[in-house]
Amino acid sequence: MTTQPDRARTPFGLRLAAWYAALFVGSAVVLIALTYLLLASSLRQRDQEIIQSTLEKYASAYEQDGLQGLNDAIRSDRVAGQHETLFVRAIGADAEAIYFSAPEDWSGFNLARLDAAPAPGTEVWSDVRAAQTGDVLEVASVRLPDGIIFQVGKSTRSRGELLARFRTVMLLAFASVILIGLTGAAVITRSALQPIRHLIDAVRRILATGRIEARVPARATGDALDQLSGLFNSMLDRIEALIAGMRGSLDNVAHDLRTPMMRLRSIAETALQSEAGSDAQRDALADILEESDRVGAMLNTLMDISEAETGTMKLARERVDVADLFRETVELYSDLAEEKHLTLAASSTPGLTLDADHNRLRQVMANLVDNALKYTPAGGTIALAGRAEDANVILEVRDTGIGIPPADLPRVWDRLYRGDASRSERGLGLGLSLVRAIVEAHGGTVAVQSDSGLGSTFTIVLPMEPRSSTK
């Protein structure tokens, strides 16, 4: 299990390093080879130019002043120190050398191969290889009009020595290129794979410890791997929030259920102590039924809240007409409002619709109106208002009730929270939490504004169309 990521990582890293090194060394080889070829060919060209110009010079000297002119030209060159490394031969019409000059150590060349005479007026190039040293004598021959064959040659030895030195230097350079290439490959592979290694480490830590807090270090380079790390971290954040939410709601459910469970217990216990078959026992049984219905309702609400808060609530979205929504809400509560001598009125911009879960919105409106009815004294008014604002629908529930003290305002959305003023009213204290959870699950917001003694206004802002993306 633990070796698997290693097996998966090593070949990839190695492959990456090998590719890098191969590319690096390969381009160095091409560069060195090109430089070498260029150098060799330009050296060769220079030698040939020397041979050719010398040949032409001597030939013209011979043509002007005969053998004497040639001797003069050679002598002056020798004085100038230019002649040492050149082979010069003049062959007479009778195939006898009439002039010969060559450095002493050039004995290895088989000069007999140069005897083939070129056609008059043309220049012929021939190579003679030295038997032992492998040096090559490059010779240009020309036949003058009077039958004399002129030959000037140059050994490739000095050129060869130069190239040999160059090769040595290049070999050293190549060795360092390989070294740099391999080191570079190792470094680059390492740094390129670092985010992936961090990712692997993070996942491994989570798997090993079961704790989701591990994160991949951010590098802020903005490249694909950095994005991957970022996305991975966001995913972990989301998972962590979900787990925390679920854990939280589980704790809340357990906590919220203890009180009604305790009530059930005490009712049953009291009933057991009273006379069998008495009215007190019948009452207790009825109390227990009512209480257990409340527990059931509470469980449903808690489930709804945690589903909405963790984003797992399924919303059956449809076109919801705000006027219909208000009408249904008013119908549900009109009798009760009448009973309590309250005015329940609704008004909305005609044709105002939004994309939402109709049933959930009815729940939201019912909870808000329910709440308003509870805290508004007789003669008061509860007004529902709906209007469009930008791409949102604003739903308002305004009452002329007792209001919410400023200290309680931020906490009205908390689960099971009830301000002092509302302790006497029956309710589960979950209504507003559910309202907020449902609205937020729709991508909307809720707010409350209240003046103690004058009334409260709950404002819901819902997007007309569901947001296309979450981020």
């Binding site: 019948r282 009452d283 049984l285 009825a286 109390d287 227990i288 039924l289 009512e290 257990s292 219905d293 059931g296 309702a297 449903n300 489930m303 399924k314 249904e328 119908e331 549900l332 509560y333 009798d335 009760l336 009973e339 049933n359 009815r362 729940q363 019912a366 909870n367 329910d370 009815l373 509870k374 029956r426 309710g427 589960l428 209504g431």
Partner: protein
């Protein structure tokens, strides 16, 4: 009327069997899925009450197997799960019904009777009569002891519902669903208010109070 109850929890099963017997049904009970299926396939029942979570063979597979074998007994599915999954939705579409635990017995009874009514195609009466109380569904009028009673539309709907279930306790949840079509529980006493108003109109001045409160369960019209 013969009913099959397939439920493995003994307490719930005996609660159902006892209640349904008192309501006049003949009951067969199976605690396990395979036995239940065997009964459902061999005996002619008017309806069945089947729990989803069963040992042996789960409730939904059981119903699917019944349907595959062309047994059309209507089924009321019981489940502790709140969310209705796709399989249940499929069965619901086939005419079966669905009830979430915990439920009030009166609600189960009403649903079973509705299932049987639907499957036997029993014709709906146009007049509902309970003693001196008469409700005409065509003229939408109500009389008690010959005197016409004016009702608001919602009061009429509630009375009709109570009269259809005359003698049986109807829970607040059932009234919420039937009268307002709200499938959740608004926590204020909306139902109480409506029942109170209806009672004022029906029972005021009469010795015999027709609409009675059954504490902890709901209301009954007798």
């Amino acid at each position: 009327m013969r009913l099959l109850v397939i439920e493995d929890d003994r307490t719930i099963a005996s609660f159902l069997v006892k209640g349904l017997q008192e309501a006049g049904f003949a009951i067969d009970h199976a605690e396990e899925g395979r036995n239940g299926l065997a009964l459902a396939l061999t005996e002619p029942y008017d309806a069945a009450v089947v729990d989803v979570m069963l040992p042996g063979l789960d409730g939904l597979s059981l119903i699917e197997e019944m349907r595959r074998r062309k047994v059309r007994t209507p089924v009321l599915i019981l489940s502790a799960k709140r969310s209705v999954d796709d399989r249940v939705r499929g069965l619901q579409a086939g005419g079966d019904d669905y009830l979430v635990k915990p439920f009030a017995f009166s609600e189960l009874l009403a649903r079973v009777q509705a299932l049987i009514r639907r499957s036997t195609g029993e014709t709906q009466p146009t007049r509902l009569v309970v003693g001196d109380l008469v409700l005409d569904l065509i003229s939408r009028s109500v009389e008690r002891a010959g005197a016409v009673i004016e009702l608001r539309p919602r009061e009429f709907t509630l009375l009709e519902y109570l009269m259809r279930n005359a003698g049986r306790v109807v829970s607040k949840t059932m009234i919420m669903e039937h009268v307002w079509n709200y499938s959740f529980d608004p926590r204020t006493n909306v139902v109480d208010v409506l029942v109170f108003r209806l009672r004022e109109k029906i029972d005021r001045g009469f010795e015999q109070k027709r609409i009675q409160t059954v504490r902890g369960i709901g209301y009954v019209l007798k």
